[in-house]
């Protein structure tokens, strides 16, 4: 059995599975980093991913176009994030509770709409999922080639987002504004930055990414929609943001580690280890908790995270 693990094809397959499992989390983590850098914790992430998954699936099935489904998922994510922005930014309500409200609402809504549209068929409907696209030369590299460079287009998009987001945050005026709003919104306000607008834009952009991440689950990873399709990945992304210390590259690294554990767990099951498969399912979550425990001490949280910003307080 040990020999089988070190088999080349096992390894290559594992890399491929890692990227596939990691992709939705990469999107969600990047989206959450954007929100949290501006000072808003978006706990609606799990619900937004679910609505993204359902909407993407629904629209793809109805229209026949996969990318239309992805677009619809992004739009739905943006709409839900806008609602979050209304509650937590504009009204200044508790970010914890607003986000949870969005998740609860979105979860119910996703199931409601799905049921409305499809009823309860014995055989759940499926779509033709995204095909994998091989990058010409790179996918021929031995060992890692087929795993890394024969992936879905959305996965490549996720990779590209990392440098884009990093450049945005660290090298542009927009990123400086976002970071300042996240560290000291009063400072940003007094220098002319519209705190509400910045936070809202970050939330909405983040929501789009979360929605897209969710749609990957039903349009590439699997090809059908089930209520447990997101299965806590939204929460894992929140942990990955902390793991990555709110940096896009490091956060995505965390997502890839989780994807690795998820893929590993799947493959180990296939090898017939004599452990109940539920234990395997637990491993990624346990590892996430362990990782969180290890990292939290030294985390540098954006200083204004969880604090609503209001201008007209006591005068004097």
């Amino acid at each position: 059995m040990i020999r089988e693990i070190f088999n080349v094809s096992f390894f290559a397959g594992l890399i491929g599975a890692t990227m596939r499992m990691a992709t939705p989390i990469m999107f969600a983590t990047l989206g959450e980093i954007l929100s949290e850098r501006a000072g808003v914790l978006n706990l609606g992430i799990e619900g937004i991913m679910l609505m993204g998954a359902m909407t993407g699936f629904l629209v793809t099935l109805s229209s026949g176009f996969l990318w239309l489904g992805v677009l619809a998922a992004a739009l739905v994510g943006m709409a839900l994030a806008l609602l979050m922005a209304f509650l937590a930014v504009y009204l200044g309500l508790s970010q914890h509770v607003s986000g949870l409200g969005i998740t609860l609402f979105s979860t119910g809504l996703a199931m409601f709409v799905y049921r409305l549209h499809f009823g309860s068929p014995l055989v759940p409907p499926t779509v033709d999922p995204f095909p994998k696209v091989a990058i010409p030369l790179l996918s021929k590299i031995p060992l890692i080639g087929p795993g890394l460079f024969n992936q879905y287009l959305l996965t490549y998009v996720a990779w590209l987002l990392v440098p884009v987001l990093s450049l945005l945050l660290y090298k542009t005026q927009a990123g400086l504004k976002i970071r300042t709003v996240g560290e000291n919104p009063f400072a940003a306000d007094t220098v002319g930055v519209n705190v509400y607008r910045t936070r809202t834009l970050c939330l909405v952009a983040g929501g789009a990414l979360m929605g897209i991440g969710g749609s990957f689950l039903t349009l590439a990873h699997q090809n059908m929609f089930l209520i447990e399709v997101v299965g806590g990945r939204g929460w894992v992304s929140i942990a990955m943001v902390i793991f990555g210390n709110w940096d896009p590259l490091k956060g995505v690294l965390g997502a890839i580690i989780f994807g690795f554990l998820d893929g590993l767990q799947l493959r180990l099951q296939g090898l017939g280890f004599k452990v109940p498969f539920h234990i395997f399912l637990m491993i990624p979550y346990l590892m996430t908790i362990v990782v969180l425990v290890g990292v939290s001490r030294r985390a540098t949280v954006p200083a204004s995270l969880l604090k609503p910003y209001r201008r007209e307080e006591k005068g004097g």
Binding site: L93, M111, R297
Partner: protein, 364 residues
């Protein structure tokens, strides 16, 4: 050009604390018309069957109380925790932990005298839930780990622990489904009224509401918990051992959630199954918020949600609106309640911003 601003307002009189949640419920019900109509349901017929299904017959009414029992417990669990700013999103996992341990003792506790079995099962379920909540509490107090994420992730871990056990040692011999054997008769909750499923769980819930109210308002622990939730730094400054208080709150919270699980097991299902909780732990969050974290508020919210959940079944049968409307209404209720709570402290001020004057045109 109109600009809206949120401004602090004068405090509202006491009656507002009761009127606000009721207003929130009414507004939620009105907003529910949107999904109902979207589902193609006839509006008034749907509302009628919603309420009839929950309150219209003796059986329905008792069912509503039955469904409210776990909600009261998880609502209290979350309210207690939130009051101390321990963001316990893990009530679902704690509920399962309670049900799990209750199952184990309920099946294998043959050596325990019958009259002691039920109390032991209840106690064990309480402590199991409390234990499961103490883990993230320790993480938070000793290691600064965010409680939202840790309590959430532990939910998933507990689900899988349950799955591993139900496909393993706890599985009913001879069955290929993930379900346990039935618990002993002595471990079952007494049924209180014939031709219904009304059991002592609801009365236990009422007792819990009273106990928690007493604890919150009249005891040292209640004061400390409230102080820690209000400002942990000041509480620490004042000599309160915030770590101990957080832990105590977490254990009590988890224990209450665990009792919800024990109730579902010992009163309704009589055996452990994967779907023993359709998300009661998460509903507890909405119920706690809607009840403004107050025990009596929790009781009333739990009843409200129970009405929705039970009524939705009948409504679905008669009008074709999917039962998931109950979850949609839950989510909406939470958001409406949040907005209304805001309006108790702030109001919206409308500003008319004057258009700019032309350059050189000065006044008078």
């Amino acid at each position: 050009m109109i600009r809206l601003m949120i401004v602090k307002r004068e405090p509202l009189p006491g009656w507002a604390r009761i009127v606000i949640p009721i207003a929130a419920i009414v507004v939620t019900l009105i907003l529910s018309a949107i999904p109902i109509l979207a589902a193609g349901g006839a509006l008034w017929k749907s509302y009628y069957f919603l309420f009839y299904g929950a309150l219209g017959t003796r059986f329905n009414l008792l069912e509503t109380f039955v469904k409210a029992s776990p909600l009261i417990f998880t609502g209290l669990a979350v309210a207690l925790a939130f009051r101390a700013k321990f963001w316990n999103i893990g009530a679902e996992g704690q509920l399962l932990a309670g049900a799990l341990v209750a199952t184990w003792i309920g099946i294998y506790g043959t050596w325990i005298p019958s009259f002691l079995l039920l109390p032991m099962v209840i106690a064990a379920g309480f402590f199991a839930g409390g234990f499961w909540a103490s883990i993230p509490a320790l993480f938070k107090t000793k290691l600064k780990v965010d409680d939202v994420v840790s309590t959430l992730l532990l939910n998933y871990v507990m689900v899988h622990i349950m799955g591993a056990l139900l496909f393993g040692p706890l599985q009913q011999p001879g069955s290929s489904w993930p379900r346990s054997s039935e618990i002993l008769q002595a471990a079952k909750y007494p049924l209180l009224l014939p031709r219904s499923r009304f059991h002592i769980g609801f009365l236990m819930g009422l007792a819990a509401v009273f106990l928690i109210w007493f604890l919150n308002t009249k005891t040292v622990f209640g004061y400390r918990s409230k102080a820690v939730g209000a400002n942990i730094r000041s509480a620490h400054f004042g000599g309160i051992n915030t770590t101990v208080v957080t832990l105590q709150t977490a254990v009590l919270s988890g224990g209450l959630a665990g009792l919800a699980g024990v109730g579902e097991l010992c009163a309704l299902q009589y055996r452990l199954i994967m779907d023993i909780s359709p998300g009661y732990g998460y509903s507890g969050i909405v119920i706690a918020m809607l009840g403004n974290l107050h025990p009596v508020g929790v009781l009333l919210s739990a009843l409200f949600f129970s009405v929705i959940i039970v009524g939705a079944q009948t409504m679905s049968r008669m009008t074709g609106v999917p039962t998931y409307i109950a979850e949609v209404i839950q989510g909406m209720a939470l958001m409406v309640m949040l907005v209304f709570l805001l309006l108790t402290e702030y109001r919206i001020r409308v500003l008319r911003v004057r258009p700019r004057m032309r350059a050189g045109g000065s006044r008078n």
